[in-house]
């Protein structure tokens, strides 16, 4: 990547790319993310994810939002059309954390975002 200017993407645009539906906090889609982490292991997420990034996951329990809160993750997108528990959405709303869901698989989601210039959390900046 070129020095200085890193690729950033508004959640609005990310939603289009992943053909995702917004589950809550749709008024915060002007937030920007720089990196993406795809994982179903919360400890992995906590170990590697950078602040201000997007989490792609197949898990839908409220701990996903808790994990995102602790690690300062901007937004979470569930893959394979997963619908989270009502409690998960409630917790995210209280934290003003946008939740999205896409019908795409984890692989396809990551691939599309990578192609658009977003990078993974474990690459050095």
């Amino acid at each position: 990547m070129t020095k200085g200017l890193r690729n950033k993407m508004k959640l609005e645009q990310l939603k289009e790319i992943l053909q995702a539906k917004v589950l809550c906090c749709g008024d915060h889609l002007d937030r920007e993310i720089e990196m993406v982490c795809g994982s179903d292991l919360m400890s992995d997420v906590l170990a590697f994810i950078k602040a201000d990034s997007l989490l792609l996951t197949g898990l839908t329990n409220p701990q996903v939002v808790r994990t995102a809160e602790m690690a300062e993750i901007t937004a979470v997108c569930f893959v394979r059309g997963k619908q989270p528990h009502a409690e998960t959405i409630k917790l995210a709303e209280a934290r003003k954390m946008p939740l999205l869901t896409t019908g795409l698989s984890m692989f396809e989601s990551c691939g599309r975002l990578y192609r658009e210039g977003l990078h993974s959390c474990d690459e050095t900046k």
Binding site: L41, S43, D44, N61, Q63, R66, T67, A71, E72
Partner: protein, 335 residues
């Protein structure tokens, strides 16, 4: 009819100073450059607009400009903007020595406008390109005139915003470094404790969430808060999963945060083994929740500046985490 088109009298080439804002090949984005994209025209425009009508006379215009200390006004007729009259128009008229006349004979009728929700950088570009001193601002939905924007307004808004951000940064620094200075004592610490319920996944994380908020309120550096929150959360999840409950006690001292996580659970028979990456005794229901990778303790160690784990089988586990408040360097990756 078009003296308004004259360039600003400074003589500078407008394209020159536009580079300061939007230089396409500048690789480093300064704070100002960020702000001109972030702020909207509506954030900087003047909202209480002084207007004139087409039949206001040029001699009256002088008094309007002088009394309001402005350099131009939109000209309104029947609620619609029909033109703009500026001080340049006035000077041209004065210089021509012609008799008094209504504004409509001297105003610019083909007016460039801005939408309120456009980024500020568009207004800067248009002001530079056209050489106009001011641009009327239109609400995109209603099509109504809602403000007017000048270079002066933009500069004022940017300076104000920079000052606010500088001030916030100052407060942050003050709180983080001085919170303990006003307290007298040989040993000062701020301590708060939460209990953690065992086996209750629905509330797992509440204690760490509270800890995170408190540390934020104390003005501790966000990077330190994040590390403390992640370490505390991993420990809290372990208490929920493996024990019947315990407590998390945080003690904030002038130079460090100490987090004690104590439980009266089954204990760990081999602490060294438990510390190894990938070692886990988590059952299936725990794995289904996304935990049980055997990375929790490794993670805690990575976030902490120092960590002590003492455990006795059938008695319980004591985990102590230290985080230096002043160590804001990026932490090394997990080994």
């Amino acid at each position: 009819m078009k003296p308004n088109e004259s360039k600003p009298s400074s003589g500078a080439d407008p394209s020159e100073n536009s580079g300061a804002f939007a230089g396409p090949d500048s690789t480093r984005y300064t704070k100002i450059q960020e702000l001109v994209y972030e702020l909207k025209v509506s954030d900087a425009m003047m909202r209480n607009i002084i207007t004139t009508t087409p039949d206001t006379s040029m001699s009256e215009l002088r008094e309007i400009l002088r009394a309001n200390r402005i350099s131009g006004t939109p000209v309104m007729e029947g609620g619609k903007m029909v033109g703009v009259i500026s001080i340049e128009d006035f000077i041209m008229w004065l210089g021509s020595g012609k008799a008094d006349c209504p504004i409509k004979e001297k105003m610019t009728t083909e007016v460039d406008t801005m939408y309120a929700n456009e980024p500020l950088v568009h207004a800067i570009g248009k002001l530079d390109k056209t050489g106009y001193g001011r641009l009327p601002v239109i609400d995109r939905q209603s099509g109504k005139l809602i403000g007017i924007i000048t270079k002066g307004d933009i500069i004022e808004r940017l300076l104000h915003k920079l000052e606010i951000e500088y001030h916030e940064e100052e407060i942050h620094r003050y709180r983080a470094s001085h919170i303990f200075e006003d307290i007298i004592g040989d040993k000062v610490a701020l301590t708060f404790q939460s209990s953690v319920k065992g086996k209750d996944f629905s509330r797992a994380g509440e204690a760490s969430s509270g800890l995170k908020k408190t540390l934020e309120r104390l003005g501790i550096h966000p990077q330190i808060v994040r590390r403390a929150a992640i370490a505390s959360y991993e420990a809290e999840i372990n208490v929920v999963i493996y024990t019947d409950g315990g407590t998390i006690t945080a003690s904030v001292q002038p130079d460090k945060i100490r987090i004690d996580v104590n439980d009266t659970g089954p204990g760990i028979s081999d602490v060294d083994k438990a510390m190894q990456p990938g070692y886990s005794t988590a059952s299936e229901w725990v794995r289904e929740m996304g935990f049980g990778a055997g990375m929790g303790l490794v993670n805690i160690k990575k976030c902490a500046d120092k960590m002590e784990l003492v455990s006795t089988v059938d008695k319980g586990t004591h985990l102590r985490i230290y985080i230096d408040i002043n160590n804001t360097q990026e932490h090394s990756k997990a080994g």
